[in-house]
């Protein structure tokens, strides 16, 4: 990991943007595609260019620096352009394709799960697929059931896909760069709330990788292990701060990769604290949280003082109405309740 003393604050969005810019400069094979990644497409002769820079502005400025050949606005045809990303990745490019919201994966699921995930295996290892899909996710913003899901779990299910979930600007930049350089298909999940939170973390200016498949310990503690994934790392860390005031020392693991998953860091921590609470915004059934719960139960059973506890939303779609959505979300209070449960 890069260590620097000077503090350089970037927003989550700027961090992703910088990663894209640096990788595009480094490697001409990197191209970016997606809906409105530049905006106002085809109107350069009228002086119109880069009007959006992506729905979350993650790709702002790329078209002016790298041109419309490498920064392509697409029609709303996810099956078409994500599938095109697979084909381009198989033949020498290193595409970064934006799927605006993860819920829209349904439109292009075949391309992701049947092609991106399986081609290398089915072809006897004869190709590499350096495809990066970046996608927005997460509830809490009053956008109802089709624009609020957190679906990293479903992709974790598929052999052949990797999944990374940054939790702040520092991990966002490092994981974005690692995803682009990785020769396997990687999905980078950007939580929409995290994109709006200003985190006081240092983001080095030079390009750096954050290793895919590695978790990090965000806060050390002895009494209980809290595992967070992206936005829920932020929630778990808030809970840990409140618990500290009550004299409970919680360790916070920032999972960062859902596939491969850093089992070692989780198991090592749980063996010390003997208690675990997993905080996950995805649906509870067949989730990353249930996967971690199974891991701990199967491989650290003898160390546990209490069964693992999961904090997920209930098994329901995301409601629109704000008071209902607030009930839906994992919160520091729910994490504290869960900690009290495992502390007995």
């Amino acid at each position: 990991m890069v260590t620097e003393t000077a503090t350089r604050n970037l927003s989550y969005i700027q961090a992703i943007n910088e990663a894209l810019r640096q990788e595009m400069s480094r490697d001409p094979a990197v191209i970016v595609m997606g809906e409105d990644v530049a905006g106002g497409a085809g109107r350069e002769d009228q002086g119109i260019i880069d009007s959006w820079g992506g729905p979350m502005r993650l790709t702002k400025g790329l078209i002016t620096e790298f041109g419309a050949d490498r920064v392509r606005d697409t029609p709303i045809s996810e099956a078409g352009f994500i599938g095109a990303g697979v084909g381009a990745a198989a033949t020498g490019l290193r595409p970064v394709v934006e799927l605006m919201y993860v819920s829209f994966f349904g439109v292009c699921a075949d391309q992701i799960t049947n092609n991106a995930a399986k081609m290398r295996y089915m072809f006897g290892g004869k190709i590499t697929l350096p495809l990066t899909i970046m996608t927005g996710m997460g509830a809490g913003l009053n956008t109802a059931a089709q624009h609020s899901e957190t679906l990293y779990s479903i992709f974790t299910h598929f052999p052949g896909l990797k999944g990374v979930v940054p939790s702040d600007p520092y991990t966002a930049k490092g994981l974005m760069i690692s995803a682009i350089r990785d020769d396997d298909p990687v999905i980078l999940f950007n939580n929409r709330q995290l994109m709006g939170i200003s985190a006081n973390v240092h983001v080095p200016e030079e390009a750096y990788e954050f290793p895919i498949g590695k978790a990090r310990i965000l806060r050390e503690g002895d009494d209980v292990t809290l595992v967070g994934i992206g936005y829920t790392t932020y929630i778990a860390d808030q809970a840990a701060g409140l618990l500290a005031d009550d004299g409970i020392s919680a360790e916070v693991i920032d999972l960062l990769s859902t596939s491969p998953m850093d089992e070692e860091t989780i198991l090592e921590s749980v063996q010390r604290t003997r208690k675990v609470v997993i905080v996950d915004e995805d649906y509870p059934r067949c989730s990353v949280a249930s996967d971690i719960s199974a891991l701990v139960a199967e491989q650290a059973f003898d160390y546990l003082d209490a069964p693992p506890v999961r904090v997920n939303p209930p098994h329901t779609s995301v409601p629109y109405s704000r008071p209902l959505e607030a009930l839906y979300m994992p919160t520091p209070d729910k994490v504290i309740d869960a900690v009290n449960e495992v502390m007995g």
Partner: protein, 327 residues
């Protein structure tokens, strides 16, 4: 019933005018609510009122409409209650969907509104199934699906058009070509001479309509509905229209289009051209127009009061309606 010069009865003309005005006032108010932070994710239909109003003038309550993320105008044209709609926007229990769906998912099955839909192009196959259902059940119901120029590039449209074509289903595909999908201009995203031309590949009658003219939309919509009811199959309508506002609240459309273009469309505004028509043809006098306008505004004020005073859903609603039974 009094029939006017172009063969449309007076009541229908009044209904169309009044409905367009209610939509516009409703959308102005919903934008105020969104600006005040009371809802998010709101896509304004201002400028596009004539398209669904002209088509829905031919529909019965038991005909179906399916909409998009930008669907408040479809809902009002299909006769939904604006009190319940405004309550839905604010996430209240008295909303059309009990506050669980919000601005992008308004539905009212009794009124034949089978839902707005937040996934672009996702509604089109469903509408095709609604047409199939009518055909298999032997009714003369009609299914109308509204979608944008951006949605015209989804594979779902093509698969659905083919199904409707081979099975001669009573489906009307209405593409609201407002020239943009978010910031992406239609001339960039659509290959081929027009969106309507795509229907030719499926042997489907298709037409390009002036979506700023409610009278033209009424005429073309009428032919399509008659064809569907008679069992003669689907129709494709490309209605050329314009959204006056940004894609959503915070979007500044002048980042990707010109003032000149905006002025061109606003000069052909569906409501003001209809006012001129009604006055010039002595369908209504100025004071009657003003009375309709005032009544529409009062209705929207009342809808806002109703929504504001309504309660939020009970906590228990979080987990109801996922299934009918689950044990």
């Amino acid at each position: 019933m009094a029939t006017t010069t172009i063969g449309i009865d007076r009541d229908t003309l009044l209904w169309m005018y009044k409905t367009m005005v209610i939509i516009r006032r409703f959308e102005e108010q919903s934008k105020r609510e969104a600006d005040a932070g009371k809802l998010r994710g709101m896509h304004s239909s201002i400028g596009q009122e004539a398209v669904p109003v002209g088509v829905c003038a031919h529909l019965r309550d038991d005909d179906y409409v399916l909409g998009t993320h930008r669907s408040h105008h479809h809902c009002i044209a299909k006769g939904l209650d604006i009190n319940q709609m405004m309550a839905e926007l604010l996430g209240k229990s008295t909303g059309t969907n009990k506050g669980k769906g919000g601005t992008m998912h308004i539905a009212d099955i009794d009124k034949g509104m089978l839902g707005a839909n937040g996934v672009v192009g996702s509604n089109i196959p469903v509408a095709t199934g609604v047409g199939l259902s009518a055909k298999v059940r032997g009714t003369d119901q009609v299914s109308v699906v509204f979608f944008g120029d951006g949605a015209a590039n989804q594979g779902t449209l093509h698969e659905a058009m083919n199904l409707a074509g081979i099975w001669k289903l009573p489906v009307i595909f209405v593409c609201e070509n407002n020239r943009y999908a978010e910031s992406t201009p239609v001339e960039y995203s659509v290959a081929g001479e027009s969106i309507a031309a795509r229907a030719e590949g499926y042997d489907m009658p298709s037409v390009i309509a002036d979506g700023q003219s409610v009278l033209e939309m009424y005429e073309i919509g009428g032919e399509a509905v008659a064809r569907a009811r008679a069992g003669d199959g689907p129709t494709f309508i490309e209605a050329q229209t314009y959204r006056y506002h940004g894609h959503f609240g915070a979007d500044d459309p002048l980042a990707y289009r010109t003032q000149e273009e905006e002025d061109y469309y606003e000069a052909r505004d569906c409501i003001s051209t209809m006012v001129s028509y009604l006055l010039e043809n002595d369908v209504l006098a100025q004071d009657e127009i003003e009375a309709i306008d005032a009544a529409a505004l009062a209705d929207v004020v009342e809808a806002t009061r109703f929504a504001d005073e309504s309660p939020f859903p009970n906590d228990g609603e979080l987990t109801t309606d996922v299934y009918i039974s689950y044990a």
